[in-house]
Structures are given as structure tokens and as C-alpha cells.
Symmetry: C2
DNA sequence: CTAACGTTTGTCCAACCGGTCAAAATTTTG
DNA sequence: CAAAATTTTGACCGGTTGGACAAACGTTAG
């Protein structure tokens, strides 16, 4: 797809990292169209033309950012493994996703922004790599169901519900904090969420008979 | 906050509705900064200056849209009532929210966009009206838990999980459809989702002993 | 009919924005 | 050190955007 990776000097590597870090901050807060090169340049501590020396177009920054994001973003799902106890596997998948929402909220929001706008830049990846990965894992989950290890349901929607509930704490963070208020909405909210989600996915809400 | 509502001619009422409808389409697809007055004007079938005759600033359109949105958006939660069987109440709340995601995806995306950008325009409402409403309903749910009608958990995070799982089908629609593929991702996906969510919130994933 | 009022349009503007370019400053290399 | 290569900067450009405005057009009531 791309030619061989261009050689880069030490300065180029450092400055490119600096720009990507600044761009993550700006893009995740304002979206692609809502962000200006000037904003990113200022956040990175350099002038606009200087930034454009490292990335020729605004889109190049976004593209690079998105490519890096996707690998780390899908890592937890890739780790979902056939070995080990199914219920434990699912529980640690949920925990890992929630930790990502806590530790990398900007990445989550960048992704959410892209999807919300119709995923114009990563549609091929959704229909290709992501679809294949989910199919693979859905098969694993189906195996667990056939073996009677977990209840029978739709594996795809199960995965969606894990994505939705965990990423909610990154993407809708301001709302979560506003609704919980200063006391409940402090740092402890992720542990509360983890406890709740564990129970939800394990037992649901029906009272113990 | 605002003076008495200005008198409006018949034409003004109609045209304002037309503009709001067009703006919902454009804003929900491109975000606030990503949308131009020209786009909205074209979608509404009028010229930019003409549109600006009805709404003096771009922000006014967005603000009006947001105010209207919030009422209908919170209606399902307001309906969550103490009368009736708790488990049934929760199930129909989930169903109503999922129906809103299906029937009003643009409203959902508009709201998601606003929250993602840090809710600059509706923060007071989140900390006021919304927080109060959720507190009220959390108390109702706590009552159910005390009465042994549903399992004991955190009512706040329960509400978040319902929001997250249902709105996911509007906000991340492109991703859902891409991952499900043409066959599974058709119109039936909302029924599949409803079935899955009902089971999840009722029984969780633990296999029936 | 006509005056008053409401609506629509074309033109214009200043600010912003993505990106170019050549020259200056700096760093690297021989 | 000095030449070569790299990095930084200021000035600039064309296109877009939000919004202003006055003139033209349409509608309605006396």
C-alpha cells in the first residue's frame, strides 16, 4: 500500500511524536473538521509551517493517528482466547476494555468521532479487518455456548454491548461525571463501573431466587 | 432567561421548522463546526441570507435544536415508574430507548456529538435537570432492590449501561452494520439487539444451571 | 389601489483556514 | 572549519465561512 518507510532523522522522529500527541489531544476534543492546524501546532509548541514540514497535510496526521490507534484499540479483543474458562475470559475482556476507557479516553473519543461522522476514513477497515476479527471471536463464543459454558445468545450483540458499556465511560465522560456529581463521580467511578458490569454480564438483574 | 416568546407569522413557523429539520440532518452528520450554514440552507431549500433571516446566528439553530431534543430524549426515563412490576418496567424502558435509537438516530448522534465535544452548550442541563432526574429514578430503583424485586447493584451505572447499549445502535450505526455484514445487519438487527439486551439485563451470561 | 409589513435575494466583507514558498537559521557531515 | 543537508520562520495566497445590508419582491389590510 505504501512505499518503503522513509528514513527519518532523530529530530523528525521526535517532532512527529510531539505532533501526534498534540493532534490526539486536539482531534479528540474537537473532531477532525473542528480542529485547525494552528491549534495542533500551538499544542505541539511549533509554528504552522513548521508542522507542515513534518506532515504535509492535515489529513496525514489524522490518518497516522488512526492507524496507530486501531492496533492498540483492538488488542483486548485479539487477546480473547479459546483457552481458559469462558466466563473468566469474558470478564477479563470487559475489565481490559474498561481500563482502556480509563487510561486512553482520548483515543476512544477520536474513534467515536470518526464513527459518528460515518467513518469516512476507516470504513474499509471496519468492513475488512474488524469484521473478520469479530467473526472469528464470535465463533469462539459460539463454541462456548455449544459447550454449555455460557448462556446462548447472539455473540455479535454481546460484543457490541461490551464495547458500548465500556467505551461509554470515555466517550460520555462529561455526562457521567455530571450525573454522578462530585462525590460519586470521582476516581472511584471506574471501580464502581467494573463491579456493576461484572454483575450485569454475569447474572443480570433478576433477583436471586 | 428569555423574554416572552416572539410572535411569529405562519410562514415563520413553517420555515423555522423546515430549517430545524434540515439542520438536524446536517449537524448530526457533521457536528457543529463541521456544518456550514450553506449546507443547512441548501438542505432546507433556501438561500443562506434567507435562512439567516429566520435564525440570526448558526448557534441559535443549534441551541433551539438542542432544547427541543432534550425533552423528547429524556421522555423514556421520565416514564420509568414506580407502579407496575419492576422487571417489566426496566424491560420496557430498554425497549423504548432502543426504539428511539432506531427511529431517531439523528437526534442521538446530535446529542452524542455534543457530549463528545465536552458538552459546552448543555453542561448546565446535565448538572441540573438531568442529574436530578437520574437521582430520582435511582431512588426508585433502589426501592426495588430493597424490596427484593431486582438484584442489588449500583442504580446509576445500571442507567448508564442502558443508555450505552441502546444508543450504541444509533451512534455507532455504521460500525454495527459494517461488522454485521449485509445479511445480519439488515432491518432485523434491532430485533436481534432487543432480544439480546433483554436476556443480558434479565439473566446475564451465566449458563442456566 | 396603496401603504405597511413581511420575505427573499445578490452583493459584499472580514476573519479564518489549509497550504505554499523562498529565505534564514540550524544541525549534521566530511 | 566549511559545505551540505535539514529545520524553522515570515510572508503570502486562494478558497471558505459566518454574517451584514440594502434593495427588490410579495403579501396583506385598509
Amino acid at each position: 500500500m505504501e512505499g518503503s518507510a522513509p528514513r527519518r532523522t532523530r529530530i523528525q522522529q521526535e517532532k512527529r511524536e510531539l505532533i501526534l500527541e498534540a493532534a490526539l489531544e486536539v482531534f479528540s476534543a474537537n473532531g477532525f473538521r473542528g480542529s485547525t492546524i494552528d491549534q495542533i501546532a500551538e499544542a505541539a509548541g511549533m509554528s504552522k509551517p513548521n508542522l507542515l514540514y513534518y506532515f504535509r497535510r492535515k489529513e496525514d496526521i489524522h490518518e497516522t493517528l488512526m492507524q496507530r490507534l486501531l492496533d492498540t484499540w483492538l488488542a483486548p479483543l485479539r487477546e480473547l482466547d479459546d483457552i481458559g474458562d469462558p466466563m473468566t475470559e469474558l470478564r477479563s475482556y470487559i475489565r481490559r476494555k474498561l481500563e482502556m476507557a480509563r487510561d486512553f479516553p482520548r483515543e476512544s473519543r477520536l474513534f467515536a468521532n470518526e464513527i459518528l461522522q460515518g467513518a469516512p476514513r476507516i470504513m474499509p477497515m471496519l468492513e475488512g479487518e474488524l469484521k473478520t476479527l469479530v467473526e472469528e471471536k464470535a465463533a469462539v463464543i459460539k463454541g462456548w455456548m455449544r459447550a454449555g459454558k455460557i448462556a446462548r445468545t447472539d455473540p455479535w450483540h454481546l460484543i457490541f454491548s461490551i464495547w458500548a458499556t465500556t467505551q461509554h465511560y470515555a466517550d460520555f465522560d462529561v455526562q457521567v461525571r455530571a450525573v454522578l456529581g462530585p462525590d460519586r463521580g470521582g476516581d472511584g467511578r471506574f471501580e464502581d463501573a467494573a463491579r456493576f458490569l461484572e454483575q450485569l454480564f454475569l447474572d443480570g438483574l433478576k433477583p436471586k431466587a
